[in-house]
């Protein structure tokens, strides 16, 4: 088996609820990256949006953290983001992998909050790029329509398009390309079932290997 381009790379993975429950991406994607030889630190804070990573912000619904091959630690009520500046200083990652989108889509609001989204995304990406660190941003998957978050295919597509054109210099990984709308089953419209998270992880991992941020970080 060929050595992965990720081998030896230090990866900091931050994001929202998709990383905040032990059997979500903090398990499947984290394992996948570790198996490729990366040193991985994952911090998922439920409900976090991009701007919440500029200063310590309590999670809306818990969180989880995991380092290397250790088990994920559920943070419960104490869950809070750690400022990206601190994480960059302590982890010194070669790559920051951001998994976020559903927490910023405003699924239940008729108006799409472009100015707020721009404020949120650029605040985070500027802080990372000012540190000279490469980054890749994983956008939301299709999920299923409805559920308690009121997700719609139209709004998730709008959110993904916005992120695709606004997270530079981070590379954008468009999760909508990985499946058809509604193809992956969810438990609540947004969060996938176990097979879904496994498939999503594999697709993210494949896309990451082709991402300019990873290829440039490896040079």
């Amino acid at each position: 088996m060929a050595v992965s381009i990720l081998a030896g790379m230090t990866i900091l993975m931050i994001g929202d609820s998709h990383l905040a429950t032990p059997d979500y991406l903090i398990s499947t994607l984290h394992d996948n990256l570790v198996a490729q030889g990366a040193k991985v630190h994952t911090l998922g804070i439920c409900g976090a949006n991009a701007g919440d990573w500029l200063k310590a912000t309590p999670g809306a619904c818990g969180g989880a953290e995991r380092r290397g091959t250790e088990k994920a630690v559920v943070l419960g009520g104490k869950a809070a983001t750690v400022p990206i500046s601190e994480l960059l200083a302590t982890d010194k990652p070669d790559l920051v992998l951001i998994v976020m989108g559903d927490t910023m889509a405003s699924y239940t609001k008729p108006a799409f909050p472009k100015a707020w989204l721009w404020q949120q995304t650029t605040a985070l990406t500027k802080e990372i790029s000012a540190n000279g660190t490469r980054c890749a941003w994983v956008g939301p998957n299709w999920g299923t329509e409805g559920g308690k978050y009121g997700k719609t295919f139209a709004r998730v597509e709008m959110t993904s398009k916005f992120l695709a054109s606004n997270v530079a210099p981070c590379s954008y990984i468009d999760s909508l390309q990985f499946s058809k709308p509604g193809q992956w089953a969810t438990v609540d419209g947004q969060h996938l079932t176990a097979p879904g998270y496994k498939t999503w992880s594999e697709d993210i991992s494949k896309a990451l290997l082709e991402a300019p941020a990873v290829k440039e970080a490896k040079k």
Partner: protein, 223 residues
């Protein structure tokens, strides 16, 4: 002022609950309404003080650094206060809509001291791969106010009405712009330098004692 503006920042209501392993607790998927911002431009020769409430320290906008940052505001709450320049005082009472970026100019107005001009923008062109350049015109003395890349004949912005703005996405290149009034070059070109992808820029045409004057600023948000 900054304190007051910060207090007006919209804070999304959060539903707090412990994390369940089987089902994630409900959380908000965005703000209750879009963000909104205001900034101040001092086109007068004297310092401009922006006062949110009597007794609060003013935010000063110096004539030498005439464009403030964009401050986040709560679109639900009017932005009230006053603009003070050389002992002349103007009341300010603005309703800012969600998604709006509002620029408040204090421009010279003869014996009256200063005049307040408000230009509103609801941008729809956010793009991290392009540079975004806006042209603001609050100088009625410049007829058919236009901007051209220096040394070129094609207009970047053509005949912009007074008290309005236009914006264009362009490739991130080195850019100098030439002000054109009534189809004649006015003043020297303004060097904007190497534009960066994802950045938003403003070129602001304001009146002055010596005629039309161009200011430039990067549209930077206050955090």
């Amino acid at each position: 002022m900054i304190k007051l503006l910060a207090a007006c920042v919209a804070v999304p209501a959060l539903s707090i609950s412990a994390l369940a392993s089987a089902e994630v607790a409900l959380y908000p998927t965005g703000p209750s309404e879009d963000a909104a911002f205001v900034r101040f431009v001092n086109a007068s020769a004297a310092p401009l003080d922006v006062i949110a409430q009597a007794g609060q320290p003013p935010m000063r906008v110096e004539a030498a650094q005439p464009v403030s940052l964009f401050f986040p505001v709560d679109a639900k709450t009017p932005v009230k206060g006053s603009l003070v320049s050389a002992e002349k005082k103007l009341a300010m009472d603005l309703k800012i809509e969600p998604g709006e970026f509002v620029t408040v100019f204090a421009v010279p107005d003869g014996a009256k001291g200063i005049k307040q001009v408000v230009v509103r923008e609801q941008p729809d062109d956010f793009n991290g791969l392009k540079a975004s350049v806006a042209f603001f015109n609050v100088d009625a003395s410049c007829a058919d106010a236009s901007l051209r890349p220096a040394g070129r004949t094609a207009d970047l912005f053509k005949a912009l009405p007074v008290e309005s703005q236009q914006r264009r996405s362009i490739n991130p290149v080195n850019l100098s712009v030439q002000l054109v009034c009534a189809n004649a070059n006015v003043g020297a070109p303004l060097d904007l330098g190497d534009l960066k992808a994802g950045e938003r820029y403003s070129v602001l045409l304001v009146p002055s004692a010596s005629g039309p004057r161009l200011l430039n600023a990067t549209d930077t948000l206050s955090h």
